[in-house]
Symmetry: C2
Subunit: 342 residues, 2 copies
């Protein structure tokens, strides 16, 4: 293998052609102020020399990196990946790349990631706060420096100057539970996630409100707030819950697809018939509910669209005059998708 070659730069082309660097730069830019014949000469030479512009130099000079920084709490949650797919598709169409960082469900990591991005690597940031994130100073600090920010999914507090993309977790959950109640269910179990997380608080609230509206007594024994932050431990937590449950539930409302599937698994293995004896609802609708037997009724979240919308808002901010930015809060709709588990 040959020794690492020095990169070809504008100067090399300029020298070969006996013209100035500026002209080469402009020619490659298709700047109309340069003669077509010169442009062609430059292109041909660049081609034959294997010229490749240096993105870093471009960025330093132009003040733009064309990179969007994305911070998600974890990789092993299909929801976040699907959002990223939405961001990526929209971003690519607008000539941006995405740099994904996981905060590993830790506020510290979230802050570190943000600081790394603040160093000028990205033009803007899309962030889903962790459950630990109670203070938003780190986000405000970024905004104050003029870096556009869009938040999505788990927003405990609206941040001045940032855009927000979310769903109405409260209402979505309320609708799901109400559906079960109207089916005549009384002992409706609730399986949520870590209660520090705003989305889970809201989904819990929806459950409580629906139960109250129909005067169904709330029973603590039917309620589980999972604390696992990793797929690995969710299973045991849910198995345990059902093993020790003192009342036979006739329905289970869960706050993620995985909780729903794990519930179904545990119930089926314990000999329950779904949906005859117990109904199950999941939250998210990221594809697996459809493959299960019985297929799982879900609150469908417009996950991919959330990502697209987030990217759209961010890129809008890029193009704004950097004057007072009016914070936008976009609420996307959910839908109850009926399948065999109810």
């Amino acid at each position: 293998m040959p020794v690492k070659k020095r990169r070809i730069k504008l100067e090399d082309i300029a020298r070969k052609l006996n013209i100035s660097i500026a002209t080469v730069s402009r020619a490659l830019d298709k700047n109309p102020r340069v003669k077509i014949s010169t442009r062609e000469k430059v292109f041909k030479m660049a081609q034959s020399m294997g010229y490749m512009p240096n993105q870093i130099a471009k960025s330093l000079s132009s003040g733009k990196t064309n990179i969007i920084g994305v911070i998600i709490p974890r990789y092993d949650e299909p929801f976040f990946i699907e959002v990223c797919r939405g961001i990526d598709d929209y971003a690519r169409e607008h000539n941006y790349k995405i740099l994904i960082s996981s905060s590993r469900n830790s506020f510290e990591f979230e802050r570190d990631n943000l600081i790394a991005f603040e160093r000028g690597l990205v033009d803007g940031i899309i962030l889903s706060p962790t459950h630990e994130t109670e203070m938003f100073a780190h986000i405000r600090s970024v905004i104050k420096k003029g870096i556009p920010v869009v938040l999505f999914d788990n927003i405990r507090e609206e941040v001045q100057g940032a855009d927000h993309v979310l769903i109405d977790d409260d209402k979505a959950s309320f609708n799901g539970v109400e559906f079960l109640i109207k089916k005549g269910k009384k002992n409706i179990a609730f399986i949520g996630g870590i209660i520090e997380k705003k989305v889970f608080q809201d989904r819990y609230k929806g459950y409580l409100d629906a139960m109250k509206k129909y005067n169904i007594p709330i029973r603590e024994e039917l309620i589980l707030h999972c604390e696992s932050l990793d797929r690995e431990f969710e299973d045991a937590e849910i198995q345990n819950f059902f093993k020790n449950i003192p009342i036979k539930p006739d329905a289970v409302f869960t706050c993620t697809d995985n909780y729903g599937l794990l519930s179904m698994k545990t119930l089926l293995k314990s000999g329950y018939k779904i949906p005859e004896e117990v109904s199950v609802i999941g939250f998210g609708d990221l594809g697996l509910g459809e493959v299960y037997v019985p297929s799982m009724t879900c609150i469908a979240q417009p996950t991919y669209a959330m990502g697209q919308k987030a990217a759209e808002l961010l890129i809008e901010q890029f193009n704004e005059q950097n004057e007072t930015h009016l914070k936008k809060v976009i609420k996307l709709n959910t839908e109850l998708v009926l399948r065999d588990s109810t």
Copy 2:
């Protein structure tokens, strides 16, 4: 909101302190050649002014970006995400970030991504080629420029100068099928992915070899090479296959977890009993097989470890003298994980 503020730079600190930029730079670097007292003054001032180094300028100056570019064929395949998690964890420990790009199963996109990375945005590249990738000139070109490359998973052809991380698909598949044969299965269906893809070719070969070794006739009607590149269409393809199958299979060997799950779904819905009447094996073992009822026997791939290993090899290349790089080919072990579906 205040107008976008100009970033603080070294020069600002230097002026305030009446010292040179160079000294500020060195102080922040903790260069021992600068007096401790000066260093402290600089740190304090930097802190109070909210100084944040400019990563782009640093990169241009140092020639290092500390970013690893990762190109995967698609987002909606948990396998790739899990590999990314492995890469990310290893990379982060070594002070690298990862920039993930999806090639959307298209050779064109793969090449475009590579070219984008070639522009100096990343220090090295980890890539899983698409099924369309038959030519490797684009990869060789990157390597020739001295950019370290590691390939993983779907490697049709070893590329001189790149490292490779893979599993023995052939053997893994052979073992799975052999296991079914030893259980007395005769009508073993095979469901693979798009046959242009090397991994699927190898897994198919493993199937054929096992069948031949035990003198079991191969029946075309029991073989399906899925052509879907999106989760969306896989379901219909598999349903269709089983609907029209002329022979009742007593086992199904599949080449991804999703194919396995979809097969189980279709079979269960058609009234088959698993595993009494038909056994099913999946490939990957990315978590869902365990949640299904019945739980799915799988060829377990060391997915996370593949990512870690790839990152390790890449970072090793960074630290090498850029002389002749000896291509390394790492084959990781798979394992047959027995569950209820067999």
